[in-house]
């Protein structure tokens, strides 16, 4: 590698700080051996470098770190808060989805009537329960998806009468006739309740009314 005198002069500062490539360094050293002017320039640069004022350290280092630390921690808290917002938004969407789904199920349910113990009509058509029919209150856990709820109600061969309430309670109407759960016929209301309570995600099950 050969360098012109101008190139050598340009590279001198980095020769001094020891960061030239081996080729550049070698070429420059050869040039220095042959040029008195270049040697003088190098001497001047050395003097300059050695007389450069001392650099001050950042006086605000400790305070600066504490400020940054606070920002880092508040940023993490903010992220965590944003994650919660996301979870809440997802939960809200799920609730809406469940309610919309339940509404659709109610719409598609076979028309019929439900009668409460007091004799009031709760059915969509406002008439009384038929023989063998009952209305159950079922409370589902928040982890239950709409698909899970729908599947369970289908297994009961039931239909939604009302709900879900603010507490997540759904009223389901079903018939004991021809009801088969886990492969065996069920005729007793207590057996239905017992089966429901054994299902994952069901937090509460009780008879609203029966006939």
């Amino acid at each position: 590698m050969s360098l012109t005198e101008k190139e050598c002069s340009e590279l001198l500062p980095w020769y001094l700080n020891g960061t030239l490539s081996p080729d550049e360094r070698q070429a420059l050293e050869s040039a220095l051996d042959q040029s008195e002017q270049l040697k003088q320039e190098l001497e001047k640069l050395k003097l300059l470098r050695d007389r450069l004022p001392e650099q001050e350290n950042y006086a605000g280092s400790d305070l600066g770190w504490r400020r940054l630390q606070k920002q880092i921690r508040s940023g993490q808290a903010e992220n965590s808060k944003n994650n919660w917002k996301t979870y809440i938004a997802i939960a809200a969407m799920l609730v809406i989805a469940v309610q919309v789904g339940l509404f659709n199920l109610m719409q598609s349910a076979p028309s019929g009537d439900v009668q409460l113990l007091g004799g009031r009509s709760v059915g969509s058509q406002g008439s009384v329960l038929a023989e063998g029919q009952l209305v159950l209150q079922i409370q589902f856990g928040s982890q239950m998806s709409w698909q899970d709820i729908k599947q369970l109600i289908n297994e009961l061969n039931g239909s939604i009468v009302q709900g879900p309430s603010a507490l997540g309670v759904i009223q389901v109407r079903l018939s004991r006739d021809n009801l088969i759960l886990d492969g065996r016929p069920i005729t007793q209301t207590t057996d239905i309740i017992q089966w429901l309570k054994a299902q994952p995600g069901v937090e509460h099950a009780a008879v609203e009314t029966a006939k």
Binding site: S9, E10, L11, P13, W14, L16, N17, G18, T19, L20, Q40, E43, K44, L45, L47, L48, R49, R51, L52, P53, Q55, E56, N57, Y58, G60, S61, G64, W65, R67, L68, Q69, Q71, I72
Partner: protein, 185 residues
């Protein structure tokens, strides 16, 4: 145990606050000094230290390891400082302006030694340099960076780095000659 610069960056990428603290104390002065030379006000330079370190905390995972950590850090510092300068609408000299207008003092080495031996003179002449020229001198002699590294940091061609250094050298020599001649009177 003292971690290397690159190990620290890896730990910071894993959001380890202790590593960030160590990194901050290792590099805040370098960032501060470099920013101060561009911005000239300690308050702005402190602000840049904070911004740069926050960027390191958030983007340590983007460090590719191709350059040294110091080069990467000073590159961020440069960008942020320049942004702030632009906001403050400050103007600096062009790279090659008046390069040839500065007389090369070409003074004898003995006279130069006399002038340069006075540290106050050297400091005064450094202060007279434009920001761009002083930056290159400082990155070369204080931070001991190569010209390709300086080129990366300042996002200018290597040739521009060399030109700025030549300009800085001439200016410093001219300044020292002037101060020396004043002494003679």
């Amino acid at each position: 145990m003292e971690l290397t610069d690159k190990e620290l960056i890896q730990a910071i990428a894993g959001q380890q606050e202790k590593a960030m603290e160590q990194f901050y104390h290792r590099f805040s002065s370098i960032v501060y000094r470099f920013a101060l030379r561009t911005l000239n006000t300690p308050m702005d330079a402190s602000e840049i230290v904070n911004e740069v370190m926050m960027e390191v905390w958030k983007k340590a995972h983007t460090y590719a390891g191709q350059s040294s950590v110091k080069t990467w850090l000073l590159s961020i510092t440069h960008h942020k400082s320049v942004d702030l300068v632009r906001k403050n609408v400050r103007h600096d000299h062009d790279d090659d302006d008046a390069l040839n207008e500065i007389a090369d003092p070409n003074c004898p080495i003995s006279d130069f030694q006399e002038a340069a031996s006075n540290q106050k003179y050297v400091g005064q002449c450094m202060d007279e340099l434009s920001d761009k020229h002083r930056q290159v001198v400082e990155l070369t002699f204080y931070e001991e960076l190569s010209y390709p590294e300086i080129s990366d940091i300042l996002v200018v061609p290597a040739g521009t780095v060399k030109t700025r250094m030549m300009h800085a050298k001439k200016s410093l020599l001219a300044c020292l000659s002037r101060l020396l001649s004043r002494e003679d009177f």
